[in-house]
């Protein structure tokens, strides 16, 4: 289900674009706000996570960023993580973004039922690992060319769909 966040009242009706620079600026900002407010929330989490991925690049770009001997997160890893993000289905809960010591970025999911799942990419190979219900484990590698492999899609649909 896609939810739309809509302002509680129509702001535009309270303003008319006047002639001054300030008036135009206020009107443009108001229009941006109304446009953003009508975007589906499902798009918003992707944008938010794109920002988080870039934050990871900024904070983990030096060797040893983890306090040990981690490889710096490279721009290639950022691009790869963004590709996975764009391939994710809309109906799942948003993942969290985690830098890994080998210089890759992982997208991770967790539910309260001791279920963890992590996906990261190196080149055109997706590595994934998951623990489900505290005991069942699945892990492996799949080729990735922009479309989520069936194995990973199935796991996300089974365990991490939005209610």
């Amino acid at each position: 289900m896609i939810l739309a966040a809509v302002p509680p009242y129509d702001i535009e009706s309270r303003f008319e674009p006047g002639l001054s620079e300030e008036s135009r600026y206020v009107w443009e900002q108001t229009e941006n706000f109304r446009r953003k407010g009508r975007e589906p929330i499902s798009f918003s989490w992707r944008e938010s996570l794109q920002g988080e991925i870039h934050d990871v690049l900024r904070s983990c770009s030096s060797p040893g960023w983890d306090g040990y001997d981690a490889e710096p997160i490279a721009t290639d890893s950022v691009a790869s993580a963004a590709l996975i993000l764009n391939a994710l289905p809309d109906h799942i809960i948003p993942p969290s973004v985690t830098p890994e010591p080998d210089g890759e970025i992982a997208l991770e999911w967790r539910t309260g039922r001791r279920t963890d799942f992590s996906v990261s990419i190196s080149g055109t190979t997706l590595s994934y690992a998951g623990i489900f219900g505290g005991s069942s484990k699945r892990y492996g590698e799949e080729p990735f060319f922009g479309v989520l492999p069936a194995a990973i899609f199935g796991i996300l649909a089974e365990y991490f769909s939005q209610a």
Binding site: V56, S59, C60, S62, G64, W65, D66, G67, Y68, D69, A70, E71, S96, V97, T98, P99, E100, P101, D102, G103, A106, E108, R110, R114, D116, S118, S120, S122, S127, Y128, A129, G130, I131, G134, K137, Y139, G140, E141
Partner: protein, 153 residues
């Protein structure tokens, strides 16, 4: 004052190095993985994230400390003096994940004493070359680890 503080820290590090632990690592020992990256633990969920336990490609192992019979002050001071202060970038110690040796051994990994820079230092080795298998082992360690936040961060 800064000279005095550094001198006191030097004396403290000498005192902490006098720690004696057996070379053989016992399965029921507690071990500690110090965590410096904010995204390697989740405060809201109170858990360590798997990436905190993943080895880098350079080392192929992870550095831990054997902290059985250590009080909170000693553990955090070891992390401060023997990990943080030794780094030129002075990354901030933010948290730690405590996990028992037998949980590490159950994943097919080794825990070996490595008494430099501190007698309680050890290395977790024998990680598989395969990334998914490293991830699943790190995931188990993270799931079984106890997260403690650094009071000085």
């Amino acid at each position: 004052m800064s000279y005095l503080r550094r001198f006191l820290e030097f004396l403290l590090s000498i005192f902490l190095r006098l720690d004696r632990v057996p070379n053989a690592v016992s399965p029921d020992e507690r071990t500690t993985r110090f965590i410096f990256a904010e995204k390697h633990f989740d405060v809201a969920l109170g858990r360590v994230r798997p990436a905190a336990f993943l080895p880098s490609t350079k080392a192929g192992n992870i550095s831990i400390y054997r902290t059985s019979r250590c009080g909170e002050w000693r553990i955090w001071t070891i992390g401060d003096l023997f990990v943080t202060r030794r780094r030129p970038d002075k990354v901030i110690l933010r948290a730690r994940g405590d996990v028992a040796v037998h949980i590490i051994l159950h994943q097919g990994l080794n825990v070996a004493a490595d008494p430099h820079p501190h007698p309680r230092h050890a290395l977790v080795a024998n990680w598989p070359d395969d990334k998914p298998q490293r991830k699943i082992r790190a995931m188990v360690l993270a799931e079984r680890a106890t997260l403690c936040l650094c009071p000085r961060a």
